[in-house]
C-alpha cells in the first residue's frame, strides 16, 4: 500500500470513512438515551434540562412490567429450545459426511431469507385453522423458527473450530458417545452454546413482527412499545425504556459475539481473527 502515495493517503481516507460509517451506525441509536434524560415531551433541540423522571415513571407502569415478564419468558424458552436444536443440527453436519448436506442446511437456514411477515401470517393461518389460541406459546413457536438458523450458524462455527482428534481420543479411551459428548465435546463448544443462548434470547426479546401476529392479548415488550408510540405523551417513557433495552442488548450481544469469535471458534468471518 506504500505505492499509493501519489494520490493522497488512501489508508487515511478509508480510516476517516470507517469512523463516519460507525457514526452513521451508532449516532441515530444514541438519540434515544439522550432524549430519555431530557425534561420535555418532544424530541426537539435545544435540550430543555436533565431529568430522570421518565425512568421513575417506568417503575410504576404495571402493564410494562407484565410485558417485560412475558418477553423474558418467551426469550428464555426460545433460546433454550433453539440452541438445543442448533446443537443437534450443528453436530450432525460438522461431524458426519451426509449426502445432501448442502440442501439440508439451506432448508434450515431458509427463515433467514424469508420476510418475517410471511412466516408470521402463515403461522397465524395455521394456528387459527387448528383452533390453537394465540398466546405466548404461539409467539415462542414463531421465535424458535426465526432463531434456529442463527443458533445453527453460531454453533457450526464452533463445532468446526475445535480439534476433532480430542473426541476421537476420548472414544479410543473407551468413553461411549454420551460420555464423550459431556466430557469432551460440551466443554469445548460451551462458549458457542452460551453465545447462541444469548443471541437467540436477544433476537426473541427484540422481535416485533412475528409477535405482532401471534401474540393475541398477551403483550411482549416490543408490542407494548409499538402500542405506546400512538400516544405522544408516552413518548419520553418509551425513550427511557428503549434506552434501557438498548444498553442491555448491546452488552449481551457484545459478550455473545466476543465468546463466539474468540479463540477456539472457527473464524466465520475470515482468516486471522
Amino acid at each position: 500500500m506504500s505505492r499509493a502515495g501519489n494520490f493522497g493517503s488512501p489508508s487515511r481516507l478509508l480510516a476517516a470513512y470507517a469512523i463516519l460509517y460507525l457514526a452513521f451506525l451508532y449516532i441515530p441509536v444514541l438519540f434515544l438515551p439522550l432524549f430519555s434524560f431530557n425534561d420535555a415531551l418532544h424530541t426537539t433541540f435545544p435540550l430543555k434540562g436533565f431529568t430522570t423522571k421518565w425512568y421513575e415513571q417506568m417503575f410504576y407502569d404495571e402493564k410494562m412490567h407484565q410485558a417485560l415478564w412475558n418477553s423474558l419468558k418467551v426469550g428464555a424458552v426460545t433460546s433454550v429450545v433453539a440452541t438445543t436444536l442448533g446443537i443437534f443440527g450443528a453436530k450432525a453436519v460438522t461431524r458426519f459426511r451426509l449426502p445432501g448436506q448442502k440442501p439440508i442446511i439451506s432448508v434450515i437456514m431458509l427463515p433467514l431469507v424469508i420476510p418475517v411477515i410471511i412466516m408470521g401470517v402463515a403461522l397465524l393461518i395455521l394456528f387459527s385453522r387448528m383452533g390453537v389460541p394465540l398466546t405466548l406459546f404461539t409467539v415462542t413457536l414463531g421465535h424458535i423458527l426465526i432463531c434456529v438458523p442463527f443458533a445453527m450458524a453460531t454453533l457450526m462455527a464452533r463445532f468446526e473450530g475445535f480439534d476433532r482428534s480430542m473426541e476421537e481420543a476420548a472414544a479410543d479411551l473407551g468413553d461411549n458417545a454420551w460420555h464423550t459428548f459431556w466430557r469432551v465435546t460440551f466443554p469445548l463448544v460451551f462458549p458457542g452454546v452460551l453465545a447462541s443462548l444469548l443471541l437467540c434470547f436477544t433476537i426473541s426479546f427484540d422481535e416485533f413482527i412475528m409477535a405482532f401476529f401471534l401474540a393475541g392479548t398477551e403483550q411482549t415488550l416490543p408490542i407494548f412499545i409499538y402500542g405506546q408510540l400512538r400516544f405522544p405523551q408516552k413518548l419520553p417513557s418509551v425513550l427511557a425504556l428503549g434506552a434501557c433495552i438498548l444498553v442491555v442488548s448491546f452488552f449481551v450481544v457484545f459478550f455473545s459475539q466476543w465468546l463466539q469469535r474468540r479463540g477456539g471458534g472457527k473464524p466465520t468471518t475470515g482468516a486471522g481473527i
Binding site: G89, I104, F250
Partner: protein, 312 residues
C-alpha cells in the same frame, strides 16, 4: 460408568450369534450417514414442519374467498384475479421492489469501503471492529426504526437542530414520511447484512495476487479494479440478495417512517389480516409476493453468475 461397563461385558461374549437387533445396531453405528441423519432429524423435522405446513395452508387459503365474516373453502382464483387486475396491488408491489432494490444497492455501496478498510487496513483488533460493525444489527429493530423517526420527524432532531443553528427557518417536510426515509432507515437497519459477506469475500483474497499485480506494474487503482473487485463480487452479490429479499417484505419501517407515499406491500398484507379482514386475499398477496421475489432472486443469481463467469 455403569453404561460402558455393561457394553464391555457384552462384547466379551463373542460366541453368541448376533441377533437381528444387534446386527442392525452394528450396521447403524458403522454407517456415518445414518447416525448423522438421526442426530439431525429433530432440528430438520421441526424446521420442515414449521415451514411447510403453514406455507401449505397459506397457499390453500389463497384459493378460498372471504364472504362477509365467513370464509368459503371452495376453490377459486378470484383472489389472484384481483391481485393481477387491481392497479393498487401492482403499484405497491412495484414500489416495494424499487425501494428494496435502491436500499440493497445503497447499503452495498456505503458498506464496501468499510469492509475493505477492515479487511486490508486493520491489522490489530480486527475482532473488535467486526463486532462494532455488526453490533447494532442484533439490537431491537423496532427501536432502531423508531430512532430514525425521532431524527427525521417534523419536530425531530434534524429539523429542530438545523433551526436552532439558524440554517433553516422552516422544518423540512420531505425528511420523514417518504420513500427516501424508508431507504435510509432500511440501509441503516440492514448494514450488517452487507458488511459481513463483503468482508468475508475480501478477507479470502490471496494477498500474493495483489503483490503479483503490483510487481507487474499495476498501480493500486488498477489492481483494485482488476483483482480485488472481481474477486470480491461473490460477497457483493450475496449481500445484495440478503438485503433485497427481506426488505421487500418489511413492515415496520414503512409503517413508522414511510407515510402514505412510502407504504409497501407488507403493510397491505398486514391490513388484510387486520382491519380489512380478508385473510384469503392477504394470503394471495403474500404468495404472489413470495413468487415474484423468488423469480427476481433466481434471475439475479443467473445473470450475475454469467457476468462473473465472463470476468473471471
Amino acid at each position: 460408568m455403569p453404561m460402558s461397563d455393561s457394553a464391555a461385558l457384552a462384547s466379551t461374549q463373542p460366541d453368541q450369534r448376533p441377533t437381528f437387533g444387534e446386527r442392525l445396531r452394528r450396521f447403524y453405528s458403522r454407517s456415518d450417514a445414518m447416525r448423522g441423519y438421526t442426530l439431525l432429524s429433530p432440528t430438520l423435522l421441526v424446521m420442515v414442519t414449521m415451514l411447510c405446513i403453514p406455507f401449505g395452508i397459506m397457499v390453500l387459503m389463497s384459493f378460498w374467498t372471504q364472504s362477509g365474516f365467513d370464509i368459503s373453502t371452495s376453490f377459486s382464483l378470484d383472489n389472484y384475479a384481483s391481485v393481477a387486475e387491481k392497479p393498487i396491488f401492482q403499484a405497491l408491489l412495484i414500489r416495494s421492489l424499487i425501494i428494496s432494490g435502491f436500499c440493497a444497492v445503497a447499503t452495498v455501496l456505503i458498506s464496501y469501503p468499510m469492509a475493505y478498510y477492515v479487511a486490508f487496513h486493520v491489522h490489530r483488533r480486527k475482532l473488535l471492529w467486526i463486532i462494532l460493525m455488526t453490533l447494532p444489527f442484533w439490537t431491537s429493530y423496532l427501536l432502531r426504526v423508531f430512532a430514525w423517526k425521532v431524527i427525521l420527524g417534523f419536530n425531530g432532531v434534524l429539523n429542530t437542530g438545523l433551526i436552532s443553528l439558524g440554517i433553516i427557518d422552516q422544518p423540512l417536510e420531505f425528511l420523514i414520511y417518504s420513500p427516501t426515509a424508508v431507504v435510509i432507515t432500511l440501509a441503516h437497519a440492514w448494514a450488517a447484512f452487507a458488511i459481513l459477506p463483503i468482508y468475508v469475500s475480501l478477507e479470502k483474497i490471496d494477498r500474493s495476487l495483489l503483490e503479483a499485480a503490483a510487481d507487474l506494474g499495476d498501480g493500486p487503482v488498477r489492481s483494485f479494479f482488476r483483482v480485488t473487485l472481481p474477486l470480491s463480487l461473490p460477497g457483493v452479490i450475496a449481500a445484495m440478495l440478503l438485503i433485497f429479499i427481506p426488505t421487500v417484505g418489511d413492515y415496520v419501517t414503512p409503517a413508522l417512517v414511510g407515510g402514505p407515499d412510502g407504504l409497501m406491500m407488507a403493510n397491505l398484507i398486514q391490513a388484510m389480516f387486520g382491519k380489512m379482514n380478508n385473510w384469503p386475499l392477504g394470503s394471495a398477496l403474500a404468495v404472489s409476493m413470495m413468487i415474484i421475489v423468488t423469480l427476481i432472486a433466481l434471475a439475479y443469481v443467473w445473470v450475475t453468475r454469467k457476468l462473473v463467469g465472463r470476468i473471471a
